[in-house]
Amino acid sequence: MTRTLSYVQAFNEAVRQEMAADDNVFCAGEDIGAFGGVFQTYAGLQKQFGERRVVDTPISEQAIIGLGVGAAVTGLRPIVDIMFMDFICVAFDQIVNQAAKLKYMFGGSATIPLTITTGGGGGLSAAAQHSQSLEALLCHIPGLKVVHPSNPYDMKGLMTACIRENNPTIMIKHKRLLGMQGPVPEESYEVPLGVANVLRQGTDVTVVGWGRMVNEALAVANKLADDGIDVEVIDPRTLQPLDTATIVESVKKTNRVIVVHEAVRFGGLGAEIAAQIQEEAFDYLDAPVGRIAAPFSPVPFAPVLEQAYLPSAADIEAKIRAIIARPGA
């Protein structure tokens, strides 16, 4: 049975169902227990499963991740929450040097079924330390898997897959999508990690994006259809491992591609995607792989500045028109 749920409710339902199915699953994080989390993503879970399984922790991001790593390596299936994505920096050693590397350093003897959840993205005037999109930092680290759903359906399916995954995963919730409504099946299901989603078929140009940006891209694509511009829109959904094959296949058809993300352009994931596309579809490209991303600055507080900072539908439309206009090879 499919009903309409919000992005937050879809997340919450995935956790609830997995906790009900497996006693080894528990949650820990700041304010997630009695309060349900500052974004209410964990709402009601402590009431249902008790303080044993839904744990309010001190403000100690390093120990929160360490708690997850240690519990995972000794047989549990932890879900630990880092309130804002910016705060992964505080726990970066435990994520990058411990969670990601333990299995390898131990010659494979360890298994780390750990899920880290966090809220990313801008658009709330939350300024430089509460608005970042840092997925590129995590995708560069062998041993981690990174997902970033753009809608309630993918949220539930990806979160379920993360919890069941036997390697450390990071679930990035976009703060601006928390209230987004969409159809979500009641029964539990997985959206497999590493499989992109072609949101719209098109022949003229491919746009790759994730999180809030891919929804912007889809809206622009539907609008441009009236002008006879046929845009293919791809949401990788999982950023690491990245489903390059689906993207490359699309580019071989459209011969033009744009990657859009909220993160800073320099060193963003768009760079890796562009590099891989030109490596694997060089002879098919009629134009350079385009990138739309944030400029090289911290996220500003003032709404006027933040609007100028974040990529917009207008930026996407302009870039699509420009790349279409470029004479091909």
Binding site: E30, D31, F35, G36, P58, V90, S125, H130, F266, L305
Partner: protein, 310 residues
């Protein structure tokens, strides 16, 4: 100074209000000069005002205006005014303390007689940065005050869920510094402790920890936040009874050092200042988009600009 802080309650938007804790910032900053430095937290307005920040530039910043202390780029969580030694609110819990340690190091290095003070909450003492800062300051014997505002909650979670101790001062001995508990609702008590700690620091005897027992009257941020309940009404009421400003006023009046009408004047002036600052802020222009890439570096490198142009 304490009186001034009452204005916090009038700020618009999503803010971490300081109301209820005014006696702490006021009592501590009253013994600091403009050349002494403080680092603040996400709850920074009170610290800014107590350290000598002006309403106009503060209000403008909170509204994201170009005339604000940070030209609208920082907002509430990053409000700062280096001119009066306010090294910034901070959106990362615990992150201010190591920076205050750096300021203290510079003061000792220059032998300029200045001290720095790090303000932080009870919950912040559970994070690693606080621990490293406290230990380093003691190891290097730096002139610094660690001011813990223990309001018994970190966001929506009570202290007893996040630590097995009741008093934050119990941590002082682990670093080798003295620690005292003061009534954070009593501006005089806070001030006396701060005077002693600052004098000690200026004498070259190193850091001190002051734990001020206090309470925040409003929500973690904003007035109502999500409206969810996590504190007992009578607990809030009990603390509101002890409002640091009104109790201080009564005390001065009873001591005959001031009259009710003196305070009426102060409040009137205050309300006028605040009203003026809101006017100033509202009349101020927003920053223009061409300011987006200013202030990332002292001089924006040409090749960064190039790579940036989408």
């Amino acid at each position: 100074a304490a009186g001034k802080l009452a204005e916090a309650a009038k700020l618009p938007g999503f803010l971490h209000l300081y109301v209820g804790q005014e006696a702490v910032a006021a009592g501590v900053c009253a013994t600091l000069s403009d050349t002494d430095q403080i680092t603040s937290t996400h709850r920074g307005h009170g610290h800014l005002v107590a350290k000598g920040g002006q309403f106009n530039e503060m209000m403008a910043e909170l509204m994201g205006k170009a005339t604000g202390y940070c030209k609208g780029k920082g907002g509430s969580m990053h409000i700062s005014n280096l001119a009066v030694g306010m090294l910034g609110a901070n959106g990362i819990v615990g992150a201010g303390a190591p920076i205050a340690v750096g300021a203290a190091f510079a003061n000792k290095y220059k032998d300029n007689g200045n001290v720095s003070a790090a303000f932080f909450g009870d919950g912040s003492t559970n994070i690693g940065a606080f621990h490293e800062a406290a230990n380093m300051a003691c190891a290097l014997r730096l002139p610094i005050l660690f001011i813990c505002e223990n309001n018994e909650y970190g966001e929506f979670t009570p202290r007893n869920k996040t630590m097995a101790i009741t008093d934050i001062v119990d941590r002082a001995a682990g670093y080798g510094m003295p620690g005292v508990i003061v009534d954070g609702m009593d501006v005089v008590a806070v001030h006396e402790a701060a005077v002693e700690a600052a004098a000690r620091a200026r004498r070259g005897e190193g850091p001190s920890l002051i734990e001020a027992k206090t309470y925040r009257f409003y929500n973690h941020h904003g007035i109502q936040n999500l409206g969810l309940k996590y504190r007992a009404d009578d607990e809030v009421a009990m603390w509101r009874e002890r409002d640091p400003i009104f109790t201080f006023e009564d005390r001065l009046i009873n001591a005959r050092s001031a009259t009710r009408s003196d305070f009426d004047d102060v409040w009137a002036e205050l309300r006028a200042d605040i009203a003026a600052s809101i006017e100033f802020a509202e009349a101020s222009p927003f920053p223009t988009p061409d300011q987006l890439l200013a202030d990332v570096y002292t001089v924006m490198p040409a090749n960064v600009m190039a790579a940036t142009a989408s």
